[in-house]
C-alpha cells in the first residue's frame, strides 16, 4: 500500500494505492489513473524557459508537450541550456524534438 497525494487538480485527494494498483480515496476517474501510474511510473509535465533574442523578453516559456518520466527531469532540463531562439516564434513551436528518447518534445507555450 502506498499513500499518494493526488496532483491532478487543486483538490489534492489522499489516495491509497494497493500493490495491484487498486486505488481508493480519489474523487474522479483521472485521480484513479494517477494513483495507479504514480506508484509504478511517476511522470510530470515540466516547464521552463529558453533564451530568445529579438523579442519583448529575453526568455520564452516552454513545456514538455506531455508527461515525461520523473527521473528524466534533470536530463530534460539540460537539453534547454544551449537553445537560443530568434523571434518571432509561435506558440507550440518545437524547441527540442525528442527528450531523451521518449519521443516527447519541448514546445513553447506562447508566441513571442
Amino acid at each position: 500500500m502506498t499513500n499518494i497525494i493526488c496532483i491532478i487538480c487543486p483538490k489534492g485527494c489522499n489516495l491509497i494505492v494497493s500493490e495491484n494498483g487498486g486505488t481508493i480515496g480519489h474523487s474522479c476517474a483521472r485521480g484513479e489513473i494517477y494513483g495507479r501510474e504514480e506508484r509504478i511510473n511517476p511522470v510530470r509535465i515540466v516547464t521552463s524557459t529558453v533564451k530568445i533574442s529579438g523579442a519583448v523578453h529575453s526568455r520564452i516559456p516552454v513545456k514538455t508537450k506531455t508527461h515525461i518520466p520523473k527521473h528524466l527531469i534533470s536530463d530534460a532540463m539540460r537539453l534547454l541550456d544551449d537553445v537560443e531562439l530568434t523571434a518571432p516564434v509561435d506558440e507550440g513551436f518545437t524547441v527540442i524534438a525528442d527528450i531523451c528518447g521518449t519521443g516527447i518534445p519541448w514546445v513553447t507555450t506562447r508566441g513571442m
Binding site: 497525494i5 496532483i7 487543486p10 509535465i45 516547464t47 529575453s58 526568455r59 513545456k63
Partner: protein
Amino acid sequence: MHELIVIGGGPAGLAAAYGAWRDGLRKILIIERDKELGGILNQCIHTGFGLEYFKEELTGPEYAGRFIKLLQTTQIETALDTMALKITRSREVHASGKQFGYAVLPAKSVILAMGCRERALGSLGIPGTRPAGIFTAGTAQRYINIEGFMPGKRVVILGSGDVGLIMARRMTLEGAEVLACVEIMPKPGGLLRNVVQCLHDFNIPLYLSHTITEIRGSKRVEQAVVSKVDEKRQAVKGTGFAVDCDTILLSAGLIPEIELPTAAGIKIDPKNIETSAPGVFICGNALRVHDIVDNVTTEALRAGSAAAAFVLSEKIHD
C-alpha cells in the same frame, strides 16, 4: 466616451472585458501597466491552470493566450504601458502612459481588475539586517522567467503559499539549492498538489510551525535563523538554527490592490462584484485572493456582464 474601462489586463481584466463585449458593449478599453496583456500569468510558466474553465491543463501563458486571442476577435481597445493613477466615483479614470500621455478618461462603467500584491518583508517584522537577496516570490519569478536572471543560489523560502512552492521547484530546476521552506502555521499555505510536486519531488524540507527569526548578512544575505513557533505563533527560545543562504524568498500572503477605489472613497465588499459607487465593479484578486485562476475568470465574466447590464439599462433610461 467609453462604455467600459477595465483597469488591469491580467486574467480578471481580460475576462471582464470579454464578458462585457459578449453582452453587447462595444466601446471597451483595457488599461494595462505592462508592455503586454496577460498580467501575472505571463510569469506563471508552470501548469495547473484551466482545468475547470477549459477542462485541460494549461500553463499561465497558454491560459492568458486563450483570452488574448479571443479579444483579437473583438474590437476591444487596449492601452499598454499605461498606469491608472486615480479613479473617481463619477467614473473618471486618470491614466498615464505611452498611448495618450496623461489623460482623464470618462466612462459609463469601470471594472477594477488590478489583481493583488505580495506581502512584503516589513509587515513580517523580522529582526536583523536588510541586505540584498530578499525578494518576494513573485519578484523572483519575474527575474527568472521573464528576465532570465537568477536572484540567488542558496535559498530559504519563508511561507508556503503557492507562489513560494512553485518557485522552490523553479529555482531548483535552474540550479539553485532550496534549503528550506519555512511555514509559521501548522499546515502549508499553498495547495497540497504543489507541496507534493514542488517540494516532495525535489526533497526540499518543509518546516511547519517554524519561522525566520533573524536575517543576517551585511551586503548580501548570509544566514537565515529558523526557529520553531508555539500555538500563538511566538518563536520558542532555544530552537533557532542558522541556515547558510544567499537568498530569502517571501511567500507570506497576497493582498488585494484596492488603493485606487480606497483613495476615491469607494467601498469594497469582498463578497460582491459591485462596489459602493454605481457603475464601478471589481473582480478577481483585487476583490479577494482566489486559489485558482479559473474562478477569477468566472467571476470576471460576471463582472463584465454586470457592467454591460448597467450601461445598457442606463441607455434605456436615457
